[in-house]
Amino acid sequence: METIIAWASSTALSIWVVDNMWVWPIAETLHFFGLSLLLGSLLLIDMRMIGWFKRIDIRATHALLPLVFIGFAINLATGILFYFGDPGRYTINIAFHIKMILIVLAGLNALLYYWKIDPVISTWEAHGNTPLIAKAIGASSLAFWFGVLIFGRLIPYMGTG
């Protein structure tokens, strides 16, 4: 871990974030925007996958997927700035570790969606119920992402040695 911290602190990116005091607050603000986009659109997509609100065509909700990716891209980019801006803090932080694990799980869950749901969704009835696997993927997705939110907020409060 010491090696990782030493390497990250020596990068040009790290020096840039540390030397420009406006980078951090702007990145945090953008991180909130990204979060709202990501969770706002997932709420619609995942709740429909779970089987709520069948009056909305399930394929129409999936037109919102680009917003999920835009939100995630914003948060990934700003998240990288945070990490390199203060590697000594994040590398050893328990809440940060849990958050990263949850993001990986959410990513695997998304892959499962692209493997099992995406190829067949066009054959589904537009306003019908959804199969069990779709409900499971939708519920897991919301659980993982809200977990990401919780542990993100807990980073300043939990286990920085």
């Binding site: 909130f32 706002g40 659109s41 129409a60 037109a63 919102l64 939110l149 919780i150 409060y157």
Partner: protein, 165 residues
């Protein structure tokens, strides 16, 4: 003679304040609920705004709005209650911050903008719910809504930098 004590000073002496400050995770728990709340609120508002601006034209605006509105209210109530708690705990410090005052003014502006939309152009929703561009009044409201709520989020996040530690 009674000395006038500001309301926000009295707030900090309530049992609620003591409970929040003395419980280890009391304060962050309120922050998490506040974030949950505004994510639900801003997320659902943004979805409707993007639709009004022409994104996902196959989603009927009326159906989408009916679905999203309860989430918006739920999120708003949640962030209001949790935010109110965060406020009460340090009320005298918050209230004098210009960025906090700006945030509150923008929240009110955001609500007024939403009311203008709902009691204005939205009353004729059946004429433009699906497969047609939303009227300019709806698009204007959507742009204002996105700008106002994004600025509210920004003010909230920046409170930590322009405020007290």
């Amino acid at each position: 003679m009674l000395t006038a004590i500001p309301l926000w000073q009295i707030m900090t002496e309530t049992p609620l304040t003591a409970l929040i400050l003395e419980t280890r995770y009391g304060y962050p728990a309120m922050e998490i609920l506040h974030i949950f709340g505004f994510v639900l609120m801003a997320g659902s508002i943004a979805m409707l705004d993007f639709r009004l601006l022409g994104f996902g034209p196959k989603l009927p605006v009326k159906v989408l709005a009916n679905y999203l509105l309860p989430w918006t209210w739920f999120g708003f109530a949640m962030s209001l209650v949790a935010g109110g708690t965060l406020f009460v705990v340090k009320a005298p410090e918050w209230i004098i911050l210009p960025i906090f005052q700006l945030k509150m003014a923008l929240v009110m502006l955001g609500c007024i903008n939403a009311a203008i939309f709902h009691y204005g152009v939205y009353r004729h929703i059946n004429q433009w719910s699906i497969d047609t561009a939303a009227p300019w009044q709806a698009k204007t409201s959507a742009i204002f809504s996105l700008l106002i709520w994004a600025t509210v989020l920004a003010c909230g996040r920046l409170l930590a930098y322009f405020g007290f530690g």
